[in-house]
Subunit: 291 residues, 2 copies
């Protein structure tokens, strides 16, 4: 009974955090639209500054917000009754959407630069941003090949999983850092005088707040992704295995960035300790912790 | 024997990573000095742009490099024979040095702005940078009160530890993101024309590379900090407890961002599993995983 109460309380905390993250992410997208439509001539695809404007909108919508959701999709408790392979397709699908939006948003910048004879790829923002898109695409391709296609041996999945998780979270953080550089650049370039950025006009305040929201969104997502007690439980996995006719084999690496519970959660912790042991016996290797 | 070989190999990997991180951090400091002395009139404390120049040098030396070392100081295998409380003093001491250097570097910017009638605190860089310094100072103060002073009960230490670890790593990542914004700002402001930033003069290339090095340094440090198999082993802790006359009490939260080994390390992993169990019995709560 006490354990049940703890579990409910923990579920409530997860939901509160999830709703906060979604809210912050949603408000970020709104802020990017207000920026672009209220302060900067809106959107179009004509080589003008309005084509450039797709860049912040698509990056914040796709490369930050959708990527953030893709990262925590395994953590949603109501998905634990779904098969693991379905969740992998959702994880990969959301990341594919994010990748496409990121690439389109880069095309918008290149076309805008070329139309206005502005050099490409000279800024630190462009260097790290392009590297992030390349590594993100590589990560998606390798993740698909190793974890979704049925060819990779268990030992390979187990070896790749910690790298997949760490590089995924690192790329996400790097994307947010790159967005902050982009905001800085764009505010300096578009607020040169009357008013200048340094005079703190409303546009500058709005977009600075957008930057702060992106950092808060990242902090929420990475916290949810790195709590071990919010992981998809392995039992469901085993169930899914049985229904799809797979056979449990080998052991599995604990591959989520993990950070044990606190005193209030000793019940929960010892439960997850038990689950981990069960997991070592039952689970298919490398399958559980794609997040 | 196989286990010993694995352990040696793992030690070698840790050393290789540590040397790489130190090298990247060291080269970053050198790059900041080359930037300031070769391209930007050097350093002084006179309200001129040379006073501003202390800002990047002190941030990269203190708030990035020294903070990075403070984060991984518990991971250095040759410190495992030292008492835990000594290591805590070193961790807190390095973070205190980093905090002082960060504050001095902020004073340099405020004095430079005030001397030249440039507004303060208008940019996203300044907002997030000031927030990072404030949270860093709070983190240091709370860490000292909870983990170094002998008054906090075990339950409090256990509850605070995961938050201490997560906010420490998050602040470190945010500091690097803020440095990237600062680099972007400074290159745009100081390379307006003849040459402009967009013409990619050598200074721009050097400082862009500095930004890339900071990201690589962060990736190395956070990887080392989040591998569970490189944690300070609990046995040494128990030994230290015995020699200082402390009594083992309670259980301890697993508080490092953890991400289990891969297939090659199954021996190591089962060893750390055993160590964790022993730890639950022996270790003093909240003491072990200050990193």
């Amino acid at each position: 009974a006490v354990y049940g109460a703890r579990k409910m309380e923990d579920y409530g905390r997860f939901l509160a955090l999830l709703v906060s993250a979604l809210l912050v992410g949603f408000v970020s997208v709104i802020f990017s639209l207000v920026w672009v439509f209220h302060y900067r001539e809106g959107l179009s695809w004509d080589g003008s500054t309005r084509e450039f404007n797709w860049h912040p909108v698509l990056i914040i919508t796709g490369f930050v917000f959708i990527q953030g959701i893709a990262i925590i999709v395994y953590r949603l408790p109501w998905t634990w009754k779904c098969s693991k392979v379905l969740m992998k397709f959702i994880h990969a699908g959301l990341n594919t959407i994010a990748m496409i939006l990121a690439i389109v948003s880069m095309v918008a910048v290149f076309e805008y630069h070329n139309a206005g004879n502005i050099p490409n790829m000279y800024s630190l923002h462009s260097w790290i941003g392009l590297a992030a898109v390349i590594f993100y695409s590589l990560q998606l391709f390798l993740g698909f090949a190793v974890f979704l296609l049925p060819f990779a041996p268990v030992s390979l999945r187990t070896a790749v999983m910690p790298i997949h998780v760490y590089s995924g979270l690192t790329i996400f953080a790097t994307v947010i850092a790159t967005a902050l550089m982009g905001i800085t650049e764009k505010l300096i370039f578009s607020l040169r005088s009357n008013p200048a950025y340094s005079e703190s006009p409303p546009e500058a305040t709005l977009v600075n707040c957008l930057g702060v929201l992106l950092v808060i969104f990242g902090i929420f997502i990475l916290w949810m992704a790195s709590r071990p007690y919010w992981k998809r439980p392995p039992e469901e996995n085993a169930k899914a295995l049985l229904t799809t006719g797979g056979t449990p084999e080998g052991t599995e690496a604990e591959s989520t960035m993990t950070d044990g519970g606190n005193a209030d959660e000793s019940d929960l912790r010892s439960n997850s300790e038990a689950a981990r042991k069960q997991n070592l016996k039952l689970d298919e290797a490398g399958q559980r912790s794609t997040m």
